[in-house]
Chain length 96, copies 2
DNA sequence: AAGCATTGTCAACGATCGACGACATAGCTA
DNA sequence: TAGCTATGTCGTCGATCGTTGACAATGCTT
């Protein structure tokens, strides 16, 4: 799934948070930001700080990835994290 | 490759830009930001705007991805793009 | 109905953003 | 050497950040 817009970031954050069973307040506490911040970013705020966004996704164990080859110190072990459970869930109960 | 920190963003942006054969000024023009912005983000500025960062990566045809399964309309085909060539390259000539 | 948790919204406030224009350094070529 | 490009740095400015604290609107449970 590609992340191309702040709305994508917001949707991803919200999905990840719910999947983790967290409320906005609890997530904000873990990230170290205000609850207001979580509300705004989930709404797709385009001017949110990249550092806080990355910290949020790391906190939810859902870091971003790039398809680009690593610059120089490329470890093969650094493969994309495929959430097999999520894929199975999606396949088990199809949309609608 | 995982993107977990603003430094990762900076390195990714710089690599992508050079791979595209662009200078900072030309990239800035295409994104619609100042050259100063490119300099700072490539250095790992943690408070850069997420919207501009995403626009920069899209401009360089290197959008971010997530390993998460799509929220509801989950196509199995939407798996992370694994660059097999890059993996082979990395394996063929290990770091150092 | 009452109590509780969750979410969305608002108005301050100091801090920092990104743009602009200018200047300096380094590398390359004529 | 002179000229050009690419890159890094600086100060100034209006605009916006994220925080804090408070207040509604829901939904769930008792």
């Amino acid at each position: 799934m590609f992340i191309r817009t702040p709305q994508d970031i917001g949707a991803l954050l919200r999905e990840s948070r719910k999947q983790a069973g967290l409320g906005q307040a609890e997530l904000a506490r873990r990230i170290g930001v205000s609850r207001q911040w979580v509300v705004e970013v989930e709404r797709g705020k385009p001017r949110a700080e990249i550092g806080l966004v990355l910290r949020a996704l790391n906190t939810l164990d859902n870091p971003l990835q790039t398809g680009m080859a690593p610059p120089s110190y490329g470890h093969v072990a650094d493969t994309p994290a495929i959430d097999i459970d999520a894929i199975i869930d999606a396949a088990r109960k199809p949309p609608q």
